[in-house]
Amino acid sequence: MVNEAPSGGLRPEGPVGRRNPMHALPGAGGRAGEWVHRGDRKSVQPRCLSLEKCSGYHYCGTMKFRAKIINKGFIELFIQVSVTIAKLTKVCVLRVCQDKLCFGPTGPRATREARLWCEVSRGAFYQFNMEGVSEELNEIYLELTSEHLPRAVRNAGNAASLKLQLTNKRRPCLTVVVELASRTGHTHVMVHDLPVRVLPRTWWKEYPEPNVQVSDVSVYLPGLRILKSIVERMANMGENVLVEANLNGKMNLSVETDVVSIKSYFKNLGNPPKSALSVTQDRDPETMVQVWVENRKLLQFFEGQQINPTMTLCNILSNTLLHLVLVHEDVSLQYFIPAL
């Protein structure tokens, strides 16, 4: 709940709660009962989180987000997710949807840069309540410094519970509450207020969910540790690496310089079922689909990611895109590396 004000009544309560009709502004485009007020913020509780203005009035939606994890495995997974995101992008956009949390990068989309997309589905949470900007646009977009999140949760490995909540404490915050049971029977509760910027609706189109393009080949990846060590060695040799795979479960990584070339051959990897792919055409399964990428970007991914996935695969769009996918229980991590 944004700014749990003790005086109730003037604020919508609950997902379909009482609305105060006096504050509905017809034609404002919002739900009845949403707070609309003039520039004088003092007259209203809670404070406006939105950055939009609407004809002299602040359009103000009361957004709500509260989620709690009590399962130890999911807490550890969440810690891993937050560390991964911090390693792959400095500032991230957290998109709170009805059924999941999405983490993506911020900033203008530079086409040459690798991009991250991470989803944590509602299933990981013991409790998950959210109320977006409006009923039609039932989402919340928050921008925050990625590093703050793992710092707040990294010691929560033994926590009894981990709670995330959107709050308003002088400024909008993502409040992380870690509850640790101490040996004496007392619980230690640690509260971290992470400053966030609530992104207005007009900006949402800047942060779209990446659509998985049609790919030419899809193959399961070998063990990540092996891949990482090979990529690390190759990074010492050359800047660019060739990644290729075919429909017979084979994948090669190679790097080449004037002096030396190194190629690693992986076989028997298996391909995801064809029906799950959007394979463009029927081609000879032995044909390798290729893409050249910057080794640095590939390395950054392997060094950054912390999750121990149950499934990993990569999709290659010939000479265009290398798309890595990791899945573990309710978490999926995707990394899009454009071709050189």
């Binding site: 410094t145 703050h148 710092r151 707040a152 010691n155 929560a156 404490k169 400024r171 915050c173 870690v178 640790l180 101490s182 040996r183 004496t184 007392h186 230690h188 509760v189 640690m190 509260v191 971290h192 207020d193 992470l194 400053p195």
Partner: protein, 416 residues
């Protein structure tokens, strides 16, 4: 003959000794070895004079302990102590890998003499291996802080393991933390100074139940802000010696003490705390902390202290009027309530004594805005006055720990 120190430890004692050095290394880069009849004191003070640490090992801690002052007298007709200052960079590496030292060292001997300019540390290890380190020292009189922790309104004692468990959740980026206490609640949180300056900083907060403390006495609801790093240093040490850690404090601006005390050793870290705005505004005489909010400026060794005459001098430790002092002192009669001038100087009387400086207004119970604060917001390191400067080569000479104590009364008014 020269002043001398000679002591001997076994493997597990070396580990504790090394842990003390490591804890003191968090305070500053310099370490004083200061032997006396009370034992061997290791002292350290940071350059901004906002943190001071002292670990006193009693003679019974060692397998063997021997010390002496020199036969020579200094200008004040007192025997010269071993004034031995070592660089942390030299001594810390010797006491690294403490677990392996504990395992391998059968005996450790430390020996130094004031005329030798070096400290000899010898490890007699297993398999007949003997390792000798010679560390040069600088001759320098140890600095000391007098602080009577028993006079503090608030005292907390907690098992180090519990405190460590609780503060592990604190993110390490915070340099300063605020401890907020009421009789019902203890809360450790990010310093609001930091949080407000930077719009992108995280605010963290954690509560500890009063029941978790071995001793819990809060006489004054207060919030004090201090450097987290030093707390962690002391906490690590107290975990190593398995002794509960005590925290003594009062109002913001007054130094706080972290201490551990068992039969063999006593450790005290005195930290400056951030004074709050109110006190600064209301007491224009608190020069030493009025200029800036930064902790490092809380203690300003007065730049004019070296000059004689009308220079201002850091306040010295003044007379005590409270009956609960460790050592009774006569109160000079020329001090009267209502004046803050003419405080007598006081010499430190050994490492184990911590006396709180009190103003001549100490009889009145005043809050943080009082003149109380302006005197005690800094740590005061000795008596320097226009009279005394003629006698001392260095403004801090008067801090020398002498086995006998002296009282000097400043005749002129001392303002700071």
């Amino acid at each position: 003959t020269a002043a001398m120190l000679k002591c001997e430890m076994n493997g597990s004692q070396v580990k504790v000794f090394g842990k003390a050095i490591q804890a003191l290394s968090r305070v500053s880069d310099e370490l004083w070895l200061d032997p006396s009849e009370k034992g061997l004191a290791l002292r350290s003070m940071n350059s901004s004079r906002s943190a001071y640490g002292c670990v006193l090992f009693s003679p019974v801690f060692f397998q063997h302990y021997q010390w002496s002052t020199s036969m020579k007298m200094n200008d004040d007709d007192r025997p010269l102590n071993l004034n031995c200052k070592l660089g942390m960079k030299s001594i810390l590496p010797i006491f690294r890998c403490l677990t392996s030292l504990e395992r391998n060292v059968e005996k450790c001997k430390i020996f130094t003499r004031s005329d030798k300019c070096k400290v000899v540390i010898q490890f007699f290890c297993r398999h007949g291996i003997k390792r000798t380190h010679n560390v040069c020292f600088q001759e320098s009189q140890p600095l000391q802080v007098i602080f009577e922790k028993n006079m503090c309104n608030n005292t907390l004692m907690i098992q180090p393991r519990l405190l460590a468990e609780a503060i592990v959740l604190f993110t390490s980026s915070q340099e300063e933390v605020t401890l907020a206490v009421t009789p019902l609640n203890v809360c450790l949180k990010s310093s609001s100074e930091e949080s407000m300056d930077l719009t992108n900083s995280v605010y963290s907060e954690m509560s500890v139940d009063p029941d978790e403390f071995d001793f819990f006495q809060i006489g004054l609801d207060t919030e004090i802000t201090f450097c987290f790093k030093e707390l962690k240093g002391m906490l690590t040490f107290s975990e190593a010696v398995h002794v509960p850690i005590s925290i003594h404090f009062d109002f913001p601006g007054k130094p706080m003490a972290l201490s551990i005390d068992d039969m063999l050793l006593e450790a005290n870290f005195i930290l400056a705390t951030l004074a709050d705005d109110r006190s600064r505004a209301s007491s224009p005489q608190s020069l030493c902390l009025s200029q800036t909010q930064k902790r490092s400026d809380l203690i300003q060794s007065n730049p004019k202290a070296d000059k004689s005459g009308t220079s201002q001098a850091p306040e010295c430790i003044s007379r005590k009027t409270a009956p609960k002092r460790l050592y009774s002192r006569e109160t000079p009669t020329n001090n009267s309530a209502g004046t803050c001038g003419n405080p007598p100087t006081r010499r430190a009387n050994g490492a184990s004594i911590f006396e709180v400086p009190e103003s001549s207004l100490s009889d009145t119970d005043e809050g943080p805005g009082s003149p109380y604060l302006r005197k005690f917001s800094c740590m005061f390191f000795g008596a320097v006055s226009s009279d005394q400067q003629e006698h001392s080569n260095h403004p801090l000479d008067s801090l020398a720990i002498a086995s006998d104590s002296e009282e000097d009364v400043i005749n002129g008014s001392v303002s700071f």
